[in-house]
């Protein structure tokens, strides 16, 4: 897990390990074996469901990480856009009877366009307005999910069946594999984006907005790019959610979900792809799979929220780079110790 990003560590490895894609693909292969364990009875099916939804949320968190980590902007509309994506995907496949691909395309494009519009309005002003504007939009969306019965099924929610892709009807384990494949692709895409020339401009912006501007980086344009990507990722995550969980309720897409996605990004570590994955596991899987099973403590209402809330505050106060930062610091220290040891010899 440590061979990415940190170039000093990567240099120590054989050339093959320098290829960052290999890490992502290995990671994908690793988590795609989990249904086997469930099949052998070593893991509960419900655990697999939890892990599947963590993967779904990770996609949204990766998008928010681009926005927060590089553009330094908060979006509180993650859940709203996820919901929008899920309802569009459900409507296109179920009510319009169109294919999975059409549904996925529509469900990602429409929210992204809306996101672009909101970005155009709110990004011209100092940073904080995006958070408020997206909060506003997610309120509008949430209310609309509840009211627009004919499309969203209102409070009863909307159900879909597992996707049919290339004439092959998916079941739960194959849909899980679909999640893994999409997540791996998204990770590779994010890696490429961040290390491409647009990513470099974002890096420059992060260092100093004024300096980046002087170097010819159009701030509005790059903020918009980051925000549209975050929106597109959330919408994609919504699509995956609806096909994996097979249901979409308005109550799922509330502010709390947006906050949890933010928590995953902050706890995992800004600008770290693996960190985000770990953050998502901490935020969703730890409360559901571990905390709930602790005897007395597990029965306390609201424990997951307290856990995540306190964790966010602690991370911001004491470890601003999150888990990935702690991890890297540990390796940097070890390396230093090794070098010091050599010098002593």
């Amino acid at each position: 897990m440590n061979e990415r990003n940190d170039s000093s560590l990567a240099n120590a490895k054989p050339a093959l390990w320098k290829n960052p894609y290999l890490g992502f693909i290995l990671f994908g292969l690793l988590i795609s074996t989990l249904p086997l364990f469930a099949g052998w009875g070593l893991m509960k099916n419900s655990t697999l469901n939890y892990i599947g939804s963590v993967l779904v949320y990770t996609v949204a968190a990766l998008g928010l990480n681009l926005l927060l980590g590089y553009a330094g902007l908060i979006s509180l509309g993650t859940a709203g856009f996820m919901g929008l994506g899920s309802y569009i995907a459900a409507y296109v496949t179920k009510d319009m009877g169109m294919s999975f691909w059409a549904a996925a395309a529509a469900a990602v494009l429409i929210p992204t366009l809306i996101g672009l519009l909101i970005g155009l309005v709110s990004l011209r002003i100092e940073g904080i307005y995006l958070a408020i504007a997206t909060l506003c939009v997610s309120e509008i969306l949430l209310k609309s999910f509840e009211q627009a019965d004919s499309i969203t099924g209102g409070m009863q929610g909307k159900s879909v069946s597992y996707p049919v892709i290339f004439g092959h009807t998916f079941n739960r384990s194959t849909t899980y594999l679909l999640l893994v494949v999409v997540l791996t692709l998204v990770m590779i895409l994010t890696h490429n984006f961040v290390n491409g020339h647009k990513g470099r401009a974002l890096h420059a912006m992060r260092g100093s907005e004024v300096a980046a501007q002087a170097m010819g980086v159009n701030l509005l344009q790059y903020r918009l790019i980051a925000f549209s990507l975050a929106t597109a990722y959330s919408a994609l995550s919504g699509v995956l959610y609806v096909f994996f969980v097979k249901f979409s309720y308005p109550s799922v897409w509330n502010l709390t979900l947006s906050l949890l996605v933010l928590a995953a990004v902050v706890i995992g570590g800004l600008r770290s792809i693996y960190g985000t994955v770990v953050g998502a596991f901490v935020v969703w899987a730890v409360p559901d799979l571990i905390l709930k099973n602790i005897p007395v403590l597990g029965r306390i209402n609201g424990l997951p929220y307290i856990f995540n809330g306190i964790l966010i505050i602690l991370v911001v106060m004491f470890a601003p780079q999150g888990i990935s930062g702690l991890w890297q610091a540990k390796f940097a220290r070890k390396k230093k110790e090794r070098e010091n040891g050599k010098e002593a010899e």
Binding site: A131, C136, E139, Q147, A263, I312, I313, M317
Partner: protein, 295 residues
Amino acid sequence: MSNELGTILQLFMRSLETGSVYALAALGIIIIYRTSNIVHFAQGSLGMFNTFVVTYVFLSFRLPLWASTLCGVAAAIATGFLVDFLIIRHTKKVSPLAKQIITLGLIMVFLGLAPMLFGVDPLSLPRFLQSGDFSLGIAAISHNAVLNISLGLVLMGILFYVLQKTKMGLAVRTTASNEPVARLMGVPTRRVTLAAWALAGVLGCLSGVMIAPTTTVTTSLMDAVQVNALFGCVLGGFQTFYGPVLGAYIIGVGRNFLVYYVSSIWGEQIMYLLILIFLIFRPNGLIGTKFVKKV
């Protein structure tokens, strides 16, 4: 015709009541923003938590409502102190963005604490004045609404008087305008910030107690208040103390009229859309001036 006028007047009175709830919450947000440079996303959650305290004391110990509310106010001061003492005070070196993330974390903490301490069942809180209407000829307004409106106005009047006319208010305003310089000049900025968090907590608690009788006391009690109070701040601009209050009243009035005259289902969404459109033309709010960032 007079009937129509009556409806408008009635709506306006009701809007003033919701407006004061939003205005109190917005005032809490702006006080925190000005003194700690944080957009306080947890104002509603703190208010929700302290309203739970009021409801719990009222239902379990059978205290009168005013006494329960005083308990809530005390709890609000305590939570405000705690938040500043344990967290905000130690974030001097943290970026404004990270401070906002802290308030988002606070939302989750209180969202979890409320069901942990007070259970998951929705509770209900009665109004201060159970019955009675003032008749204004063509419109009527309940005694309780009058109480809420006047309580809001009186509280805000006192606060603005303190802010503008007293030495304490001067300390707050100097902290708001430049915290490091204020500290160098001998203003006890730590105490100002501490007081600001307590005050914001109290304002949140009071707005919670006012809104609670119209619905049930659950963790989502203050969601709408928080959102509308934030938009009040955006509408009024973050640069003055009175702008957000004005913005909150405008939202209260606008919302009720849109819900009544345009659409009961889509009224609120239209209101939010209008605010977004307003932001295009006046990004710094009604009373805002452009904030120029110096390098």
